[in-house]
Assembly symmetry: C2
Homo-oligomer: 286 residues x 2
């Protein structure tokens, strides 16, 4: 969808600053997405990439927080866990996941952190008509992104979550943590990644499918057409898993709804009015 | 002069960052000017306002310097003197003036500071056809901006500088400092601000003329048409002093050539290619 032409954004002395803190940052897309949002909303703010090397993380982030016109920061790899120590308070979600990917300054000058990696996926799924509540989930991959996604699915009312990851310790630890916080959503380690009996939603949070030549993350047979499939991978846009899902007649999506949902979550978190017609993918064909 | 249409600048992960450090920053024009320069040159860089409160100056600037994609900072009121302590080395000019208004990171990671407040005026004067070398100067105002301007005029080969300022200590200290560094350009305190005998260039660095109802900064009689008059005030664009100068047939200019010259100096300092056709006032009528 193409956005209506908007005034060219002019950075001036009164422009408010947001940024994404990572290392490296050359690959990030958050500035482009948030700046499109600011332009669409006629908001005098800009989002920058802030390249924060690991060895200067604390002083660099403290310096940014000390600026009078920085209102919020998005946090990406490899700083999400360490960023917990740079805020005064975190959300329950962030505390459970053990990491934040966003922080904002409150009116009293303190900083508040939250974690939207998973909430973005849940919001994105809602947006494409899939309601997580009551659904049985199978999730491949229990690393950093997987932990955030599983927590968000449990928080959104999933009926159960089966976790598969070749690094056995990861799903065990994640399942234990999920079961502590979400007793109504039993989490288990699934040693047969291809088993989809009773599953409504299949989410791939593993990196399998990113590299050329990758196959599917498990040796799946035919999917039931009722299965909803999400692969959070963005590049390539169509992984072997997604191709297989579509061939089986399933609803299938890549990480796009997750990113859209995440941007919407950022907008709410930062107090930015998001025009109803706005799409964060305005520059790309749908 | 209108610039040719350029691609819309898109901030992305690889965009390099520059900023102006001040408090407040809402009034600054450096981001607009430098961003117009970046756009005209097709350079993937952006200049931001960084609001640095006085009580967090050192950590905030250290934090910005620690970022991997911040290449340089412009420094404005009230941080120009204190910024000296945030760089590893300064130019001779900065050392003499005792302040910097610009710093850049060198390839080895150290920071280098310089002071262009005055050099901007000298460059700007050259650009409008006035050569400082050999000229006798009268300068009104010996505060922060005045100190930088006087040093630059002396450095550029002025024949003499007469300083007038109602705060008697300021011109005395500045004259002593100038005489120490530039023995070939005698600097003196002039107790009669309206006396222009033998003067080629009259520069107003005092704030008189900014406020509505202000008159001229001294009770001048008719100027010789040979006198070059500069008022570094930018708002209003035409002060009572400039009006008087034009009525007397003098060449007279406001702070515009100084800002243009300063932008050119920044570009050189930061290693930015400045298109020959570029004007930093492209959005305003000439």
């Amino acid at each position: 969808m193409t956005q209506p032409a908007t005034r060219k954004h002019r950075i001036g002395g009164a422009t408010r600053l947001f940024g994404i803190v990572g290392n490296p940052v050359t690959q990030v897309k958050t500035p482009q997405l948030m700046n499109a949002l600011f332009e669409a909303g006629g908001i005098d703010a800009v989002c920058l990439p802030f390249d924060v090397p690991v060895n200067v993380f604390e002083p660099a982030v403290a310096g940014l927080q000390a600026l009078g016109n920085v209102d919020g920061l998005v946090v990406t790899v490899p700083h999400k866990v360490r960023a917990m120590s740079m805020v005064d308070e975190v959300s329950d979600t962030a505390r459970r996941v053990g990491a934040i990917n966003v922080m904002r300054e409150r009116p009293d000058g303190t900083w508040f952190g939250d974690m939207f990696d998973g909430a973005g996926l849940v919001l994105g799924l809602m947006r494409i008509g899939f309601e997580v509540r009551g659904k049985h989930v199978k999730q491949l991959g229990a690393g950093g992104a997987g932990a955030a996604v599983a927590h968000a699915l449990a928080e959104a009312g999933a009926a159960s979550i089966a976790l598969a990851d070749p690094q056995r310790k990861l799903p065990e630890q994640l399942a234990a943590r999920l079961n502590r916080f979400y007793p109504d959503c039993p989490a288990s380690v699934d040693l047969d990644p291809a088993n989809l009996a009773g599953i409504d939603l299949l989410v791939n949070c593993s990196p399998v499918g990113m590299r050329p030549g990758d196959g599917m993350p498990a040796a799946f047979g035919a999917f039931s057409p009722a299965l909803q499939v999400v692969d959070i991978i963005m590049t390539p846009a169509e992984t072997p898993l997604l191709e297989h899902a579509r061939q089986c007649g399933c609803r299938a999506t890549n990480g796009r709804p997750m990113i859209e949902g995440q941007l919407a979550a950022f907008a709410t978190f930062f107090g930015i009015d998001m025009p109803a017609s706005f799409s964060c993918f305005s520059d790309e064909p749908a």
